[in-house]
């Protein structure tokens, strides 16, 4: 019988939404689950997770954990997993989970399976490979397993009521690694727009936008409350900053609504967005491959179509 330890993710002393997807993954594995709330402000944040049906809330809150570092978090997570006899340790495959969970696995001598999109059984998981061009089932051969779940593939868990009991766990000492790393600070991207990987709507532009990338896309993104993305070609040409890149080597997004504007639809780009629910393509080349995946295609000059679209959406609202 599986006994799953969910590792919560905190941001500024609050539970991040990513955690709810990890809870769903734990429920799919089956058996029972507990949640480890670790980090600065964990003691306060734990209350937010009391109603999700966890057997226990385990809390690790200490000044030494105030800023996230994989080197300082992994020893305590591994120790809790070991002493609690957990068979699975699960987090979400956010930048936090991806940085942290392999380290936890190495400490436990456990297999790590990252970025899963489906729980096939309690020891096998489906995950995308080759930039989403193939899905493979990873079969785990170790008794303890560490997994990170792709957030967009697991519907966030909803509170089910009840009140999970909470207990404080002991911190485990970090090794050499922990003593040789120092957290300096975070520069958050200054943007009123939502995060690309969490946005409900994404407006992406390609090389066709040239120097007018921001000028053309911003009004559309603003009227939709959307995040802005870009193709690799647009980033390589310097029209858009590279942290906006959607695609195989950039960010993988799966919003409700995705606009591909002036994007031809290279495989590298499709790999990053074809999980979107509704795809709209605007391109003046009617034969562009993007139209093969778009739900709605408009063959038009984007420099006239996008401003028209902004006006029409404003009118429709």
């Amino acid at each position: 019988m599986a006994s799953v330890l969910v590792v919560a993710e905190l941001g500024e002393g609050k539970v991040k939404k990513t955690t709810h997807s990890a809870i769903t993954a734990a429920q799919k594995i089956g058996g029972s689950f507990s949640i480890l709330v670790i980090g600065g402000g964990a003691a306060g944040a734990a209350a937010e997770l009391a109603g999700f049906g966890a057997a226990k809330l385990l809390v690790a809150d200490d000044a030494s954990l105030a800023s996230f570092l994989a080197e300082t978090y992994a020893p305590t997570i591994a120790e809790v997993a070991k002493s609690g006899g957990f068979t699975h340790v699960v987090a979400t495959a956010s930048s936090y989970g991806k940085d942290l969970m392999p380290r936890v696995a190495a400490r436990l001598g456990a297999a790590y399976v990252g970025d899963i999109t489906e729980v096939v059984s309690d020891s096998s998981y489906r995950r995308p490979m080759f930039a989403g061009n193939a899905f493979g089932v990873a079969k785990v051969e170790t008794p303890v397993q560490v997994v990170s779940a792709r957030q967009s593939a697991f519907t966030p868990a909803e509170p089910s009521g009840g009140q999970s009991p909470s207990e404080t766990v002991k911190l485990a000492a970090g090794g050499q690694a922990a003593s040789r790393v120092e957290f300096v600070g975070v520069e958050t991207t200054k943007s009123a727009r939502p995060e690309l990987t969490e946005a409900r709507t994404v407006v992406s532009g390609g090389r066709a936008l040239k120097e007018r990338f921001e000028e053309v896309l911003a009004p559309l993104a603003d009227v939709l409350g959307a995040a802005v993305g870009a193709s690799r070609a647009a980033c390589d040409a310097g029209y858009a900053p590279s942290d906006l890149q959607v695609g195989q080597t950039g960010k993988i997004v799966a919003p409700q609504l995705y606009f591909a504007i002036g994007i031809s639809g290279a495989i590298q780009h499709l790999a990053g967005m074809k999980g979107s629910k509704v795809i709209v393509a605007i391109n003046k080349d009617g034969d562009a491959p993007i139209f093969q995946v778009a739900d709605y295609g408009l063959v038009a000059d984007l420099f006239t179509a996008v401003p028209e679209l902004v006006t029409a959406i404003k009118a429709a609202k």
Partner: protein, 276 residues
């Protein structure tokens, strides 16, 4: 500084949609696709070269860059290309992809690090075939070294530390790691002002992207040392922790419809797709 760079060749990622899944579904068939270096590993090599030079004199190596790959004999092509770009020495660990998983690669790399004693191991954040994003982190833990994953910027500091800007959701987190350490790199590491050794002036800007090898360097690379090591010499236990099977193609997306104008598009999005 001595840097070990781990490289892998992958089936041409720009044509990854041409991978086939045979009826047996036990593997992914990449026949017909060209081998290319994993893009993130190419960026790692570029970062390592920048860390071991004065940017104004890129032909003089201040330190040593050793490249390593795990693969059959043909993967020496990938290593020779890295040597032509500026690496000093190469090591090929003889193994096929089927014999490996990320954990075994990390354990074998640990043994290699103990032998080579580099100040840093630099590699891509993930390979674009398996997409597992784990080897750097596993290696760091096995070595009890600090890790700076998803690096967008690296500054070498005078006291044997690296100040690394890490790509995280919604921003960049800065960490300082004392060497030796593991660094895995992300896309922006090859921007013009991303990587500075202590020798490169902060006013200097690299060209964006990775450097290319000139013909004389390609010729010279044929004479650079390339050693072969057996996997069993590096890892006693070669049992895999994860095996793969039951491959499937992704669910196909149906092509939708073409709308005639903006008005029809907005109408469809509002009433049919109900996403506005």
């Amino acid at each position: 500084m001595k840097i070990l760079v781990a490289l892998k060749r992958v089936a041409d990622p720009d044509n990854a949609n041409k991978v086939k899944i045979p009826a047996s579904a036990d593997k992914v068939d990449t026949t017909g696709l060209e081998w290319k270096p994993n893009p993130f590993d190419e960026y790692a090599l570029e970062a390592a070269l920048r860390l071991t030079e004065n940017g104004q004199q890129p032909k003089t190596r201040a330190g040593e860059v050793v490249v390593v790959t795990f693969g059959p004999k043909e993967t020496e092509t990938t290593l020779r290309a890295a040597l032509a770009t500026g690496a000093d020495r190469a090591i090929r660990v003889d193994a096929s992809d089927e014999q490996l998983d990320g954990d075994l690669v990390a354990r074998a790399l640990k043994a290699l690090v103990e032998k080579e004693k580099p100040d840093a191991v630099v590699m891509g954040k993930q390979t674009v075939d398996g997409d597992t994003n784990q080897v750097g982190q596993l290696l760091a833990e096995y070595l009890d070294w600090p890790q700076a994953t998803f690096a967008a910027t690296i500054e070498e500091e005078a006291n044997g530390a690296l100040l690394v800007g890490r790509e995280i959701d919604g921003g960049v987190a800065k960490v300082r790691v004392k060497l030796p350490a593991v660094v895995t790199v992300d896309l922006r590491i090859v921007s013009g002002a991303s990587v500075y050794s202590t020798k490169t002036a902060r006013s200097f800007k690299y060209n964006d992207g990775v450097r290319f090898a000139a013909l004389p360097a390609i010729m010279a690379a044929k004479k650079k040392p390339l050693a072969e090591v057996k996997l069993a010499e590096l890892a006693a236990d070669t049992k895999l922790k994860v095996t793969y099977g039951s491959f499937t193609a992704p669910p196909a997306r149906k092509a939708g419809i073409k709308v005639k104008d903006v008005a029809e598009l907005v109408q469809k999005l509002t009433t049919e797709a109900k996403v506005l």
